[in-house]
Amino acid sequence: MIRRGLLLAWIAGWIAAAFLWAPLVPVLGETTRVLYFHIPAAWVTVLALGWSMVNSLLYLRRRDLEHDHQAAAAAEIGLLFCVVATVSGALWAKAMWGAYWNWDPRETSIFFLLLIYGAYLALRSAIDQPERRARLSAVYSAIAFVSVPFLIFVVPRIYFSLHPDPLINPRGKIDMDPRIRVVFFALLLGFTGLFFWVQSLRVRVARLERRAEERREGSG
């Protein structure tokens, strides 16, 4: 309860700071602030997909449905954050590049992540029996794990990207105002905390649902 309150206060406080305290970058103007939401959302997307895949592989090894709950919950939350990152990125692209969508390599890779999450959840919804659902979706997740590196690392090398890389590009790092950096990393931390909080809620719900299901089968 206290931790949830602290998390909410932390995120709310830093969002206020993003508007009131942090300066704007000259070229980006008012669109600077997308930085505080878009990149943390993209980071949580990747984190959630990684979490989901690791738990899928763990499920294949240990056959514990707990790992399946973790993988499914992370995929659902990851999809949500992926939509946030995609939409905020598209709005920013409209403001800066003049078009919502242009198949820039970054747009390609995030769209690809959206497809993977969507396919994973569609696959889960089509299998009734829990063990079989866990096993097959874990196998799918493991195969997707093979194709992710190709799209994230190979496609941007084939095609030219306009996407600004303030984290990877060292020159961008020097240009970053210290106040922007503080707000950015604080919100990155806040979004990560948000992910783990929602994740724990979702896993608890899945656990309760399974227990209710087992009880119903036991009595009926």
Binding site: A122, V139, Y140, L151
Partner: protein
Amino acid sequence: MPANRSSSGAVWAIVRKECRSEWRTRYGLNAALLFAVTGLASTSFAVGRLGDRPDVLAALLWIVLLFAALASLSHAFVREVEGHTMALLRLVASPTAIAIGKLLFNLLFLVVIEVVTVPLFLVLMGAAPPRWPAFLGVLALGSLALGAGATLVAAIVAQTRGRGALFAGVSFPLLLPVLAAAVSGTRAQWSGASVAAELRLLAAYAVALLAASLLLYDHLWEDG
């Protein structure tokens, strides 16, 4: 020890069995060929002749091939599940042998589709490839990666409720790298550039998918 027989003999037997049961009805092959030709004809009808637009040509060729593959490659596994013959098949061969056999059959199937579709495409669009080795190299490696990815997803999707309906949507994320590299390679070939990078990428992806398949097939068919 029949369950451990993943030898080349078992694989070969699976391929022969697939070909024979396909040849008895030819329903999968007929449907796939009709679909491919229909897709091709509607594309060609909509855009006309495109001999001078290599970028559009490459994209259209691979979209036609991708859709033909997605419409037909789940067939080999779905047939076993619908005919309730999967359990029997697993008694006589290991999951890996079944998988490799089905993969070889699917690749053969793709080759048949392409033998019909690709020449027809080149004739209808009025564009001959300037360099046949590069064109066929991209086509072969692209088909290998396409077949490897689609066979693996088909094995998963055959055990779900949606089956055919799910197959295209679920396999697309895995086939997107193939589509990107194959289109880029075919386009480069038409505009006279080097295709070495795309060939390497397609080969690497096909090998990665095949390796993942071999590791994962044991997990796929556990409860029959």
